[in-house]
């Protein structure tokens, strides 16, 4: 096996002689102490509550509450309706019903801008498709969702404010880049993902939803994302973490909601959660798929 990093040859060795941690440390260039860093926080008051959310077949009567000082994990198999749930919350896809409460007050979300203004934001699943304007600069990408802050009444953009915002986002998260004018699409996967998240760090968000934030990025970048989620948690921001990778949900989340076939099928505190329990909940409806449900699913 040959290990490369940053376009350079690092080392080579027989597959049998290397264990996971050696491989990782060569890949990253330093020792990764913890694969899943965990920070303990006091669970505080409820921040964000979703009540009876219905949006198409993939989001059926979803209700949950997220609390201060916790990372709320969403586990489930592919196609369990988690991404659809996040999109419905964020106002991207239309919903049939559902109420949202932020810090005890009901908020209306009908389009993404409503959610953004009120501090509920989404770092979407597929960064190339949904997360970034890859042809635009890093600066433009960070600027885009925050134009309501950086532009005045007439819509003229205040460049100084944007520069401040980009600096703030950059400080929170070390994105490796030559300068902030390079194409977002030229960044590595990990840095692109960091950029998707850092768009939301430039403003005061209350709830940040991470949809599969670690898919297809390297180990070091994954740990940075986990660390960031922990920091946000410590700051009292509600972190909602959707992931299909069971070990990382178990390693990072404080509470886990399991979805199957568009419905919430269980909720587990991290102390009681195991892979087996999650899997059992995640496949609850799998064997109950009746014949009349099948064409419907194919349609979706």
């Amino acid at each position: 096996m040959t290990i490369m990093r940053d376009g350079k040859y690092i080392t080579e060795g027989d597959f049998r002689d290397m264990d996971m941690s050696t491989i990782i440390s060569h890949m990253v260039g330093r020792e990764i102490k913890e694969k899943f860093p965990r920070v303990q926080c006091q669970k505080g008051k409820p921040i964000f509550e979703v009540r009876n959310l219905n949006a198409g077949r993939m989001v059926r009567d979803v209700s949950f509450t997220s609390y201060e000082g916790e990372i709320l994990g969403f586990a489930g198999l592919m196609g369990a309706g988690r991404t659809e749930t996040t999109r419905a919350i964020f106002g991207v896809d239309p919903r049939e019903s559902g109420q949202f409460f932020l810090d005890g007050r009901e908020i209306k979300i009908n389009k993404p801008m409503d959610a953004i203004r009120q501090g509920v934001v989404l770092a979407p699943e597929d960064r190339k498709r949904d997360g970034l304007c890859t042809k635009l600069s890093i600066r433009s990408n960070i600027e885009l969702p925050n134009l309501d802050i950086s532009s005045g009444k007439g819509g003229v953009v205040n460049r100084r404010k944007v520069t401040e915002m980009v600096a703030k986002a950059k400080k929170e998260f070390e994105i490796k880049m030559p300068n902030d004018e390079v194409d977002a699409g030229s960044l590595s996967g990990g840095n692109q993902q960091k950029l998707v998240v850092s768009k939301w760090l430039a403003r005061e968000s209350r709830v940040i939803i991470f949809d599969e934030p670690t898919r297809g990025i390297d180990v070091a970048a994954k740990v940075e994302i986990y660390n960031l989620m922990n920091q946000l948690k410590q700051r009292g921001i509600s972190v909602i973490f959707v992931s299909s990778e069971m070990p990382e949900v178990l390693g990072i989340a404080d509470r886990i909601i399991v979805m199957c076939d568009g419905r919430i099928t269980g909720e587990l505190d991290i102390e009681e959660a195991t892979q087996e329990k999650i899997l059992e909940m995640a496949t609850r409806f799998e064997n109950k798929l009746t014949a009349d449900q099948m064409p419907q699913q194919a349609h979706n």
Binding site: I116, C133, L136, L144, L147, V157
Partner: protein
């Protein structure tokens, strides 16, 4: 990370879209020098004002097409909207209307076309090529219908002939500060729309939608509204050009503005506004329009046949797009896919 101090000249050159504009500008200068060498009256006192006036139409519709191209769409209805605008104004004046309401009616009709184009593309998700091809035909049809498929009489002979005469002077024949008004109109439009594109929220939205519609939506951009705005700008520019064409000829001609949409695409594309969306700056339209008009005028000045002229101009468009593609694919090659 430490920021390296950049040479200010270098910084400007490395800014988005400037590269192509600089390259084409150099080409333009060389072109002008060659034409002037062959025929020294090319940049002479008599031809220069004409040349500037010939640039104006391509700047005006180049702006409109540029806006639409930046959102990764295309507007093929521009030429017909020019014709519709021209015919509505001329027909109304010839039937005894004052030029002011006549122009306003044309404006409303053109803006309605813009909304229609934008809505078809944004809400009904029609491919922009097909949607605007449809409106292209419709608008040409309207241009023919308003005066029973005939060109109008001279507008200066109508009831408000004097006012019409003033209109033709203001929009085509008069000069301000030694330059024809038509060029100033184009320049003013360019300044306004360049400001909107480069310095306002709407401008940022246009680029975002053109780069990645889904990401723009998830960043809180109202995608449909942004696309409609782009088509509105396009139709508005076409309306202005219709007014200018009407002033130039003092009549309404049913085939006014025929195939102008392709010229608008050429002006934008030569100036580096990619048809793929999300890239390019409006300065490119100035340069692109200049190249277009300089070729048109210059080849005529040195006595080239019309057919040959078209061949050369067409080749230049292809070369410009090719250069753009080569540059882009060069970049893609270095990038991880």
């Amino acid at each position: 990370m430490e920021e390296k101090k950049q040479n200010p000249v270098k910084k400007v050159l490395s800014a988005r879209g400037v590269g192509q504009v600089v390259t084409v500008s150099i080409g333009l200068v060389i072109l002008c020098v060659i034409f002037n060498f062959i025929n020294p009256s090319f940049l002479g006192k008599r031809n220069l004002p004409n040349l500037l006036r010939q640039i104006a139409p391509w700047i005006i519709i180049g702006i409109g097409q540029g806006y639409v191209l930046i959102t990764a769409n295309i507007d093929l209805s521009i030429g017909s909207v020019v014709g519709m605008s021209c015919m509505i104004i001329a027909t109304l004046i010839c039937n005894g209307a004052h030029p002011v309401p006549a122009v306003l009616v044309a404006l409303v009709a053109c803006l309605a076309t813009g909304v229609l184009n934008g809505s078809l593309v944004a809400y009904f998700k029609l491919p922009p090529f097909v949607a605007t091809l449809g409106t292209q035909t419709i608008c040409r049809g309207v241009a023919q219908l308003v005066n029973n498929n005939m060109n109008t009489d001279g507008i200066t002979g109508a009831k408000f002939g004097a006012a019409a005469k003033t209109m033709t002077n203001i929009f085509y024949y008069q000069k301000t500060l030694g330059v024809f008004n038509t060029f100033w109109i184009a320049l003013i439009l360019w300044v306004i729309f360049n400001f909107i594109l480069a310095y306002t929220r709407t401008g940022r939205h246009l680029y975002a939608v053109g780069s990645n519609t889904e990401a723009a939506k998830l960043s809180g951009v109202n995608v449909a509204m942004t696309i409609i705005k782009a088509y509105l700008v396009s139709s508005f520019c076409a309306f202005v050009l219709g007014l200018i064409v009407c002033s130039q000829t003092s009549t309404g001609t049913t085939n006014a503005g025929m195939s102008y949409e392709t010229y608008a695409v050429a002006a934008s594309v030569i100036g580096g506004i990619s048809t793929m969306g999300g890239t390019g700056i409006l300065s490119g339209v100035l340069v692109g329009a200049s190249v277009w008009a300089a070729m048109d005028n210059g080849l005529q000045m040195i006595g080239t046949q019309v057919g040959l002229k078209n061949v050369v101009v067409g080749l230049i468009v292809i070369v410009c797009v090719l250069l753009d593609v080569i540059r882009r694919t060069g970049m893609i090659g270095r990038r991880k896919k």
